[in-house]
């Protein structure tokens, strides 16, 4: 199982805070993203924008590998400070 979290404007625009996906061997972050974008036009639109991602609370790029039980997070560019 993989836990996927969404934050801030992504969470609001998707109307979703978290979901779970089945783990497949050799998955990369972009595979997860493509799977989510296939959920519909809104998912496609929102996730094709400027979206950052983290695996197990560390920022990663699209080619990062996923392990079983990973916590994946998608969020917009950060605006703290």
């Amino acid at each position: 199982m993989i836990n996927v979290l969404f934050f801030a404007s992504l969470r609001e625009r998707l109307g979703c805070e978290s979901l779970t996906l089945d783990y497949q061997p050799e998955m990369k972050l972009d595979d997860i993203k493509n799977q989510l974008m296939a959920k519909g036009d809104n998912w496609q639109n929102v996730l094709s924008g400027n979206v950052l991602a983290a695996i197990d609370q560390e920022m990663v790029q699209g080619d990062a590998e996923i392990h079983d039980n990973a916590e994946i997070a998608f969020f917009p560019p950060v605006t703290g400070g």
């Binding site: 934050f7 609370q57 560019p77 950060v78 605006t79 703290g80």
Partner: protein, 156 residues
């Protein structure tokens, strides 16, 4: 308080902070450091063309504090600094409220000034916080990330 805790205090909290107390924690029993630099960020009344009534700060609880630790560690590797204190508030804030505190001590002023700027530049671009503003004219809006902050981060 153990040694590491004393050298770098990092906190993400809904509570306000007291600048005088933070300053004392940077200088108490610290006669080797002759320089203290600090930065406070506050909620302004106007941002990105909108009049602001307040804001809400969202974060990623499992990740944010650790992301700040990584930034402070990078600063410590790069400059000969003494103590660092970094506090970032989350939740609902009003105009004039304090948002963020960065305090750095060092023997000479250059290290403190540069490390404090480095920490702020990385915090602004890599630490998972998101601001939603309550505007006077358009209701609520998510603050957009700033090209200028990306550039500031790239100079290091």
């Amino acid at each position: 308080m153990d040694h590491n805790q004393e050298l770098a205090m990092i906190k993400v909290t809904e509570n306000d902070f007291n600048v005088a107390e933070e300053y004392q924690a940077l200088i108490n029993n610290n006669s080797q450091d002759g320089a203290v630099v600090f930065f406070v960020g506050l909620v302004r009344d106007f941002n990105q063309g909108h009049s602001i009534k307040g804001l809400h700060l969202e974060y990623y609880p499992a990740m944010t504090e650790n992301a700040l630790k990584v930034i402070v560690e990078k600063a410590k590797e790069r400059w000969p600094i003494g103590r660092v204190r970094l506090i970032h508030r989350v939740g609902s804030l009003n105009i004039n409220d304090q948002i963020v505190f960065v305090g750095v001590s060092s023997q000479h002023r250059e290290a403190s000034f540069e490390a404090a700027q480095f920490i702020m530049d990385f915090l602004k671009t890599e630490a998972p916080f998101w601001k939603k503003e309550v505007t006077a004219d358009e209701g609520e809006r998510w603050v957009e990330a700033n090209q200028k902050d990306q550039l500031a981060r790239k100079r290091w």
